[in-house]
Protein backbone atom coordinates (compact mmCIF):
# COMPACT_ATOMS: atom_id res chain seq x y z
CA UNK A 1 0.00 0.00 0.00
CA UNK A 2 2.65 2.56 0.96
CA UNK A 3 4.61 1.50 -2.14
CA UNK A 4 1.77 2.50 -4.47
CA UNK A 5 1.43 5.81 -2.62
CA UNK A 6 5.13 6.48 -3.32
CA UNK A 7 4.51 5.62 -6.98
CA UNK A 8 1.62 8.10 -7.07
CA UNK A 9 3.93 10.88 -5.87
CA UNK A 10 5.79 10.73 -9.21
CA UNK A 11 3.42 9.07 -11.65
CA UNK A 12 -0.17 9.15 -12.83
CA UNK A 13 -1.94 5.78 -12.61
CA UNK A 14 -4.81 4.97 -14.96
CA UNK A 15 -6.78 1.95 -13.81
CA UNK A 16 -8.56 -0.20 -16.40
CA UNK A 17 -11.32 -2.03 -14.54
CA UNK A 18 -15.01 -2.74 -14.49
CA UNK A 19 -14.89 -3.76 -10.83
CA UNK A 20 -14.83 -0.25 -9.34
CA UNK A 21 -16.81 2.96 -9.95
CA UNK A 22 -15.21 6.13 -11.33
CA UNK A 23 -15.84 7.74 -7.94
CA UNK A 24 -14.00 4.98 -6.05
CA UNK A 25 -11.06 5.11 -8.46
CA UNK A 26 -10.84 8.92 -8.33
CA UNK A 27 -10.95 8.89 -4.51
CA UNK A 28 -8.12 6.34 -4.62
CA UNK A 29 -5.99 8.92 -6.48
CA UNK A 30 -6.21 7.18 -9.87
CA UNK A 31 -8.15 7.67 -13.09
CA UNK A 32 -10.61 5.15 -14.48
CA UNK A 33 -10.61 3.86 -18.06
CA UNK A 34 -12.94 1.21 -19.44
CA UNK A 35 -10.50 -0.30 -21.95
CA UNK A 36 -6.71 -0.36 -22.43
CA UNK A 37 -7.18 1.65 -25.65
CA UNK A 38 -9.10 4.39 -23.83
CA UNK A 39 -6.39 4.42 -21.14
CA UNK A 40 -3.68 4.76 -23.78
CA UNK A 41 -5.47 7.74 -25.37
CA UNK A 42 -5.74 9.36 -21.92
CA UNK A 43 -2.03 8.72 -21.33
CA UNK A 44 -1.04 10.25 -24.72
CA UNK A 45 -2.96 13.37 -23.67
CA UNK A 46 -0.67 13.63 -20.63
CA UNK A 47 2.77 12.81 -22.05
CA UNK A 48 2.30 13.43 -25.78
CA UNK A 49 1.27 11.41 -28.83
CA UNK A 50 4.87 10.42 -29.61
CA UNK A 51 5.35 8.81 -26.18
CA UNK A 52 7.36 5.59 -25.90
CA UNK A 53 5.21 2.81 -24.51
CA UNK A 54 6.49 -0.24 -22.62
CA UNK A 55 4.04 -3.13 -22.24
CA UNK A 56 4.51 -5.66 -19.42
CA UNK A 57 1.52 -8.01 -19.89
CA UNK A 58 2.11 -9.75 -16.54
CA UNK A 59 3.86 -7.42 -14.12
CA UNK A 60 3.98 -10.05 -11.37
CA UNK A 61 5.75 -12.72 -13.42
CA UNK A 62 8.86 -10.75 -14.37
CA UNK A 63 11.81 -9.24 -12.54
CA UNK A 64 13.28 -6.13 -14.17
Amino acid sequence: MQKIVKTLLNHKIILVTDGLSAEEVTKANMQLAKTPDEALRMAYDVVGADAGVVVIPDGVAVLV
Binding site: L9, H11, V16, D18, A39, V46, A51, V53, V60
Partner: protein, 371 residues
Protein backbone atom coordinates in the same frame (compact mmCIF):
# COMPACT_ATOMS: atom_id res chain seq x y z
CA UNK B 1 5.73 23.53 -45.77
CA UNK B 2 3.69 21.92 -48.50
CA UNK B 3 6.39 19.41 -49.43
CA UNK B 4 7.04 18.54 -45.82
CA UNK B 5 3.36 17.84 -45.30
CA UNK B 6 3.28 15.50 -48.25
CA UNK B 7 6.37 13.67 -47.05
CA UNK B 8 4.94 13.27 -43.60
CA UNK B 9 1.70 11.83 -44.91
CA UNK B 10 2.93 8.32 -45.80
CA UNK B 11 4.32 7.89 -42.31
CA UNK B 12 0.83 8.36 -41.05
CA UNK B 13 -0.71 5.95 -43.54
CA UNK B 14 1.99 3.35 -43.03
CA UNK B 15 1.58 3.21 -39.28
CA UNK B 16 1.14 -0.38 -38.23
CA UNK B 17 -1.14 -1.19 -35.34
CA UNK B 18 -0.06 -4.01 -33.05
CA UNK B 19 -2.52 -5.92 -30.88
CA UNK B 20 -1.28 -7.13 -27.50
CA UNK B 21 -3.19 -9.27 -25.00
CA UNK B 22 -3.31 -8.03 -21.41
CA UNK B 23 -4.46 -10.60 -18.81
CA UNK B 24 -7.63 -9.42 -17.06
CA UNK B 25 -9.80 -11.35 -14.59
CA UNK B 26 -10.39 -14.77 -16.26
CA UNK B 27 -9.77 -13.51 -19.81
CA UNK B 28 -7.66 -10.88 -21.55
CA UNK B 29 -8.14 -7.40 -22.97
CA UNK B 30 -6.78 -6.23 -26.34
CA UNK B 31 -4.42 -3.26 -26.43
CA UNK B 32 -4.03 -1.70 -29.89
CA UNK B 33 -0.89 0.32 -30.23
CA UNK B 34 0.96 2.02 -33.06
CA UNK B 35 4.19 0.13 -33.67
CA UNK B 36 6.04 3.45 -33.66
CA UNK B 37 5.01 4.07 -30.05
CA UNK B 38 5.79 0.57 -28.84
CA UNK B 39 9.23 0.69 -27.27
CA UNK B 40 9.23 -2.84 -25.79
CA UNK B 41 7.10 -5.74 -24.67
CA UNK B 42 8.58 -7.24 -21.51
CA UNK B 43 7.53 -10.83 -20.90
CA UNK B 44 8.98 -14.27 -20.27
CA UNK B 45 9.67 -16.58 -23.20
CA UNK B 46 7.24 -19.49 -23.60
CA UNK B 47 7.99 -21.87 -20.78
CA UNK B 48 9.48 -25.31 -21.21
CA UNK B 49 7.89 -28.23 -19.44
CA UNK B 50 9.99 -29.36 -16.44
CA UNK B 51 12.11 -32.38 -17.42
CA UNK B 52 11.56 -34.26 -14.16
CA UNK B 53 8.49 -34.77 -11.99
CA UNK B 54 8.08 -32.73 -8.81
CA UNK B 55 8.76 -35.82 -6.71
CA UNK B 56 11.95 -36.66 -8.62
CA UNK B 57 13.23 -33.08 -8.25
CA UNK B 58 12.53 -33.10 -4.49
CA UNK B 59 14.13 -36.49 -3.90
CA UNK B 60 17.23 -35.43 -5.82
CA UNK B 61 17.47 -32.23 -3.73
CA UNK B 62 17.10 -34.20 -0.48
CA UNK B 63 19.82 -36.63 -1.55
CA UNK B 64 22.24 -33.73 -2.06
CA UNK B 65 21.41 -31.02 0.50
CA UNK B 66 23.41 -27.76 0.40
CA UNK B 67 25.49 -27.09 3.50
CA UNK B 68 23.82 -29.59 5.85
CA UNK B 69 23.74 -33.34 6.50
CA UNK B 70 20.77 -35.15 5.00
CA UNK B 71 17.42 -34.72 6.73
CA UNK B 72 17.35 -38.34 7.85
CA UNK B 73 20.76 -37.91 9.48
CA UNK B 74 19.68 -34.69 11.15
CA UNK B 75 16.63 -36.48 12.54
CA UNK B 76 18.62 -39.22 14.32
CA UNK B 77 17.95 -39.01 18.08
CA UNK B 78 15.71 -35.93 17.63
CA UNK B 79 12.54 -36.47 19.62
CA UNK B 80 10.39 -33.38 19.01
CA UNK B 81 10.39 -32.33 15.36
CA UNK B 82 8.48 -29.36 13.91
CA UNK B 83 7.83 -28.95 10.19
CA UNK B 84 6.72 -25.42 9.31
CA UNK B 85 4.52 -25.43 6.23
CA UNK B 86 2.76 -22.64 4.30
CA UNK B 87 -0.89 -21.68 4.64
CA UNK B 88 -3.81 -21.58 2.20
CA UNK B 89 -2.56 -18.36 0.55
CA UNK B 90 0.52 -20.06 -0.90
CA UNK B 91 0.73 -22.65 -3.64
CA UNK B 92 3.30 -24.96 -1.99
CA UNK B 93 2.70 -28.52 -3.26
CA UNK B 94 2.56 -29.92 0.30
CA UNK B 95 0.70 -33.01 -0.87
CA UNK B 96 3.98 -34.09 -2.45
CA UNK B 97 6.53 -32.50 -0.09
CA UNK B 98 5.06 -33.43 3.30
CA UNK B 99 4.95 -37.22 2.80
CA UNK B 100 8.57 -37.11 1.63
CA UNK B 101 9.68 -34.99 4.60
CA UNK B 102 7.76 -37.17 7.07
CA UNK B 103 9.29 -40.36 5.73
CA UNK B 104 12.81 -38.86 5.75
CA UNK B 105 12.43 -37.81 9.39
CA UNK B 106 11.05 -41.22 10.39
CA UNK B 107 13.90 -42.93 8.53
CA UNK B 108 16.22 -41.09 10.94
CA UNK B 109 14.06 -41.58 14.02
CA UNK B 110 11.01 -43.87 13.71
CA UNK B 111 9.80 -42.65 17.15
CA UNK B 112 9.98 -38.91 16.30
CA UNK B 113 7.12 -36.82 17.69
CA UNK B 114 6.34 -34.65 14.65
CA UNK B 115 4.20 -31.49 14.58
CA UNK B 116 3.17 -29.79 11.35
CA UNK B 117 2.92 -26.06 12.11
CA UNK B 118 1.02 -23.98 9.55
CA UNK B 119 2.71 -20.61 8.98
CA UNK B 120 -0.24 -18.24 8.73
CA UNK B 121 1.62 -15.05 9.61
CA UNK B 122 -1.22 -12.61 10.30
CA UNK B 123 -3.68 -14.37 7.95
CA UNK B 124 -6.82 -16.08 9.20
CA UNK B 125 -6.60 -19.73 10.28
CA UNK B 126 -6.40 -22.37 7.56
CA UNK B 127 -9.67 -24.35 7.70
CA UNK B 128 -9.79 -28.13 7.90
CA UNK B 129 -11.24 -28.27 4.39
CA UNK B 130 -8.29 -26.22 3.14
CA UNK B 131 -5.89 -28.49 5.00
CA UNK B 132 -7.43 -31.52 3.33
CA UNK B 133 -7.07 -29.86 -0.08
CA UNK B 134 -3.45 -28.86 0.62
CA UNK B 135 -2.13 -31.91 2.48
CA UNK B 136 -4.53 -34.76 1.60
CA UNK B 137 -6.75 -36.78 3.96
CA UNK B 138 -3.98 -39.17 4.96
CA UNK B 139 -1.96 -36.41 6.63
CA UNK B 140 -4.91 -34.55 8.16
CA UNK B 141 -6.27 -37.80 9.65
CA UNK B 142 -2.99 -39.15 11.01
CA UNK B 143 -0.58 -36.30 11.76
CA UNK B 144 -0.49 -33.65 14.48
CA UNK B 145 -1.26 -30.27 12.87
CA UNK B 146 -1.20 -26.86 14.60
CA UNK B 147 -2.22 -23.56 12.98
CA UNK B 148 -0.22 -20.48 14.05
CA UNK B 149 -2.47 -17.85 15.67
CA UNK B 150 -0.62 -14.52 15.77
CA UNK B 151 -3.27 -13.05 18.05
CA UNK B 152 -2.89 -15.55 20.97
CA UNK B 153 -0.01 -14.12 23.05
CA UNK B 154 0.35 -17.20 25.28
CA UNK B 155 1.56 -19.22 22.26
CA UNK B 156 4.65 -17.04 21.82
CA UNK B 157 8.03 -16.53 23.40
CA UNK B 158 10.06 -13.33 23.15
CA UNK B 159 13.48 -14.16 21.67
CA UNK B 160 15.35 -10.91 21.01
CA UNK B 161 15.28 -7.71 19.06
CA UNK B 162 16.30 -7.95 15.40
CA UNK B 163 19.06 -5.99 13.59
CA UNK B 164 16.56 -3.22 12.69
CA UNK B 165 15.51 -2.99 16.34
CA UNK B 166 12.21 -4.77 15.64
CA UNK B 167 10.65 -7.03 18.26
CA UNK B 168 10.88 -10.81 17.68
CA UNK B 169 8.51 -13.24 19.38
CA UNK B 170 8.05 -16.70 17.89
CA UNK B 171 5.64 -19.60 18.37
CA UNK B 172 6.88 -21.71 21.31
CA UNK B 173 6.60 -24.86 19.22
CA UNK B 174 9.57 -23.55 17.22
CA UNK B 175 11.73 -23.05 20.30
CA UNK B 176 10.71 -26.13 22.28
CA UNK B 177 11.58 -28.72 19.63
CA UNK B 178 14.78 -30.64 18.95
CA UNK B 179 14.67 -30.19 15.19
CA UNK B 180 13.01 -27.31 13.29
CA UNK B 181 12.60 -27.55 9.53
CA UNK B 182 10.48 -25.70 6.93
CA UNK B 183 9.10 -26.21 3.47
CA UNK B 184 8.24 -23.33 1.19
CA UNK B 185 7.87 -21.78 -2.23
CA UNK B 186 10.28 -19.22 -3.68
CA UNK B 187 8.95 -16.43 -5.92
CA UNK B 188 9.64 -12.70 -6.14
CA UNK B 189 8.08 -10.86 -3.20
CA UNK B 190 7.54 -7.18 -3.52
CA UNK B 191 9.22 -6.05 -0.33
CA UNK B 192 10.93 -9.16 1.12
CA UNK B 193 12.81 -9.63 -2.19
CA UNK B 194 11.72 -13.26 -2.45
CA UNK B 195 9.36 -15.52 -0.53
CA UNK B 196 10.40 -18.86 0.97
CA UNK B 197 13.34 -19.82 3.20
CA UNK B 198 13.42 -17.68 6.36
CA UNK B 199 9.96 -16.30 5.62
CA UNK B 200 8.46 -19.51 7.05
CA UNK B 201 9.62 -18.29 10.49
CA UNK B 202 9.19 -14.51 10.18
CA UNK B 203 6.38 -13.65 9.52
CA UNK B 204 5.15 -17.28 9.24
CA UNK B 205 5.10 -18.37 12.89
CA UNK B 206 5.44 -15.03 14.71
CA UNK B 207 3.01 -12.98 16.78
CA UNK B 208 1.18 -9.92 15.47
CA UNK B 209 3.53 -7.38 17.06
CA UNK B 210 6.57 -8.97 15.40
CA UNK B 211 4.81 -9.02 12.03
CA UNK B 212 3.71 -5.38 12.33
CA UNK B 213 7.22 -4.25 13.18
CA UNK B 214 8.72 -6.31 10.32
CA UNK B 215 6.24 -4.71 7.89
CA UNK B 216 6.57 -1.18 9.30
CA UNK B 217 6.69 2.03 7.25
CA UNK B 218 10.40 2.51 7.93
CA UNK B 219 11.30 -1.02 6.81
CA UNK B 220 9.20 -0.98 3.66
CA UNK B 221 10.20 2.58 2.74
CA UNK B 222 13.75 1.32 2.12
CA UNK B 223 14.59 1.34 -1.60
CA UNK B 224 16.08 -2.13 -1.02
CA UNK B 225 12.76 -3.53 0.26
CA UNK B 226 11.75 -4.44 -3.30
CA UNK B 227 10.95 -7.42 -5.51
CA UNK B 228 14.05 -9.40 -6.43
CA UNK B 229 16.32 -7.53 -3.99
CA UNK B 230 17.96 -9.24 -0.99
CA UNK B 231 21.19 -7.25 -0.62
CA UNK B 232 20.77 -4.44 1.94
CA UNK B 233 17.06 -5.32 2.22
CA UNK B 234 16.18 -4.62 5.90
CA UNK B 235 13.09 -6.86 5.82
CA UNK B 236 15.10 -9.78 4.44
CA UNK B 237 17.96 -9.17 6.89
CA UNK B 238 15.64 -9.32 9.92
CA UNK B 239 13.93 -12.44 8.56
CA UNK B 240 17.22 -14.28 8.06
CA UNK B 241 18.44 -13.25 11.51
CA UNK B 242 15.22 -14.45 13.16
CA UNK B 243 15.21 -17.83 11.42
CA UNK B 244 18.88 -18.45 12.30
CA UNK B 245 18.25 -17.39 15.89
CA UNK B 246 15.61 -20.10 16.40
CA UNK B 247 17.85 -22.61 14.60
CA UNK B 248 15.85 -23.38 11.49
CA UNK B 249 18.10 -26.30 10.60
CA UNK B 250 16.84 -27.47 7.26
CA UNK B 251 14.54 -26.32 4.45
CA UNK B 252 12.97 -27.85 1.37
CA UNK B 253 11.89 -25.09 -1.02
CA UNK B 254 10.50 -25.32 -4.53
CA UNK B 255 10.17 -23.00 -7.50
CA UNK B 256 7.19 -23.15 -9.85
CA UNK B 257 6.20 -21.84 -13.27
CA UNK B 258 3.01 -19.97 -14.15
CA UNK B 259 1.17 -23.27 -14.54
CA UNK B 260 2.10 -24.10 -10.92
CA UNK B 261 4.36 -26.95 -12.05
CA UNK B 262 7.43 -27.49 -9.88
CA UNK B 263 10.50 -26.39 -11.86
CA UNK B 264 13.12 -26.84 -9.16
CA UNK B 265 13.64 -28.18 -5.62
CA UNK B 266 16.28 -26.95 -3.18
CA UNK B 267 17.15 -28.51 0.16
CA UNK B 268 19.58 -27.93 3.01
CA UNK B 269 20.78 -24.85 4.88
CA UNK B 270 18.13 -22.13 5.24
CA UNK B 271 20.33 -19.50 3.62
CA UNK B 272 22.38 -21.52 1.10
CA UNK B 273 19.46 -23.56 -0.27
CA UNK B 274 17.28 -20.44 -0.37
CA UNK B 275 19.99 -18.59 -2.31
CA UNK B 276 20.12 -21.44 -4.84
CA UNK B 277 16.36 -21.18 -5.30
CA UNK B 278 16.63 -17.41 -5.69
CA UNK B 279 19.28 -17.81 -8.41
CA UNK B 280 16.98 -20.18 -10.23
CA UNK B 281 14.06 -17.71 -10.06
CA UNK B 282 16.34 -14.88 -11.21
CA UNK B 283 17.53 -16.93 -14.17
CA UNK B 284 14.02 -17.66 -15.40
CA UNK B 285 12.26 -14.38 -14.46
CA UNK B 286 14.74 -11.57 -15.09
CA UNK B 287 14.01 -9.47 -18.18
CA UNK B 288 15.94 -6.53 -19.53
CA UNK B 289 14.61 -3.24 -18.20
CA UNK B 290 13.37 -0.77 -20.81
CA UNK B 291 12.11 2.64 -19.66
CA UNK B 292 9.14 4.32 -21.29
CA UNK B 293 6.90 7.36 -20.89
CA UNK B 294 3.88 5.09 -20.54
CA UNK B 295 3.88 1.57 -19.08
CA UNK B 296 0.93 -0.80 -19.49
CA UNK B 297 0.70 -3.77 -17.11
CA UNK B 298 -1.55 -6.15 -15.15
CA UNK B 299 -1.38 -8.47 -12.15
CA UNK B 300 -1.61 -11.47 -14.49
CA UNK B 301 -5.41 -11.75 -14.27
CA UNK B 302 -7.41 -13.66 -11.65
CA UNK B 303 -6.72 -14.52 -8.82
CA UNK B 304 -4.03 -11.88 -8.27
CA UNK B 305 -6.12 -9.12 -9.86
CA UNK B 306 -9.21 -9.82 -7.76
CA UNK B 307 -8.91 -6.53 -5.86
CA UNK B 308 -7.07 -3.23 -5.98
CA UNK B 309 -5.16 -4.11 -2.80
CA UNK B 310 -3.06 -6.63 -4.76
CA UNK B 311 -2.27 -4.20 -7.59
CA UNK B 312 0.88 -2.62 -6.07
CA UNK B 313 2.83 -5.75 -7.07
CA UNK B 314 2.61 -5.14 -10.81
CA UNK B 315 2.61 -1.37 -10.34
CA UNK B 316 6.04 -1.69 -8.67
CA UNK B 317 7.35 -3.53 -11.75
CA UNK B 318 5.79 -0.89 -14.01
CA UNK B 319 7.30 1.93 -11.97
CA UNK B 320 10.78 0.47 -12.46
CA UNK B 321 10.18 0.84 -16.23
CA UNK B 322 8.48 4.25 -16.18
CA UNK B 323 10.24 7.59 -16.26
CA UNK B 324 9.46 10.11 -13.51
CA UNK B 325 6.30 11.95 -14.43
CA UNK B 326 5.22 9.13 -16.75
CA UNK B 327 1.90 7.30 -16.81
CA UNK B 328 1.22 3.75 -15.58
CA UNK B 329 -1.79 1.92 -16.99
CA UNK B 330 -2.84 -0.89 -14.66
CA UNK B 331 -5.41 -3.42 -15.89
CA UNK B 332 -7.01 -5.03 -12.86
CA UNK B 333 -10.34 -6.90 -12.82
CA UNK B 334 -11.13 -6.03 -9.17
CA UNK B 335 -14.05 -8.50 -9.05
CA UNK B 336 -13.93 -8.19 -5.24
CA UNK B 337 -13.59 -4.41 -5.32
CA UNK B 338 -10.99 -2.58 -3.27
CA UNK B 339 -9.99 -5.58 -1.12
CA UNK B 340 -9.94 -4.74 2.56
CA UNK B 341 -11.36 -1.86 4.58
CA UNK B 342 -7.98 -0.59 5.79
CA UNK B 343 -6.64 -0.38 2.26
CA UNK B 344 -9.78 1.38 0.92
CA UNK B 345 -9.72 3.87 3.78
CA UNK B 346 -6.00 4.66 3.51
CA UNK B 347 -5.75 4.99 -0.28
CA UNK B 348 -8.79 7.34 -0.28
CA UNK B 349 -7.91 9.51 2.73
CA UNK B 350 -6.20 12.37 0.88
CA UNK B 351 -3.61 13.24 -1.72
CA UNK B 352 -0.66 10.83 -2.12
CA UNK B 353 1.53 13.30 -0.19
CA UNK B 354 -0.98 13.49 2.66
CA UNK B 355 -1.29 9.69 2.83
CA UNK B 356 2.49 9.24 2.80
CA UNK B 357 2.88 11.81 5.59
CA UNK B 358 0.21 10.03 7.63
CA UNK B 359 1.74 6.55 7.16
CA UNK B 360 5.25 7.77 7.95
CA UNK B 361 4.09 8.90 11.40
CA UNK B 362 2.61 5.53 12.45
CA UNK B 363 4.87 3.85 15.04
CA UNK B 364 6.26 0.45 13.96
CA UNK B 365 4.29 -1.55 16.55
CA UNK B 366 1.04 0.09 15.41
CA UNK B 367 1.50 -0.66 11.72
CA UNK B 368 -1.92 -1.04 10.08
CA UNK B 369 -2.35 -4.54 8.57
CA UNK B 370 -2.83 -3.35 4.97
CA UNK B 371 -0.52 -0.37 5.24
Amino acid sequence: MFIKDIISLPRCYNSIMVTLKIPYDDHSLDLHIDEQNLRATIQLPVEQKPEKSARELMLAALRNPVGTPSLRNLAVDKQKVVIVTSDHTRAVPSKITLPILLSEIRAGNPQADITILIATGAHRATTEAEQRAMFGDEIVDHEHIVVNDAFRPEDFEYICNLPSGAHFSVNKLATECDLLIAEGFVEPHFFAGFSGGRKSILPGVCDIRTIKENHSYMQIASPYAAAGVTENNPVHRDMNFAARKVNLQFILNVTMNAQKEVTGAFAGDMILAHEQAIKHVQNVSTCERVVGDIVVTSNGGYPLDQNLYQSPKAVATAEACCRDGGVIIMCCGCRDGMGGDDFARLISMGTPQEIDDYLSKIPADQTIPQQ
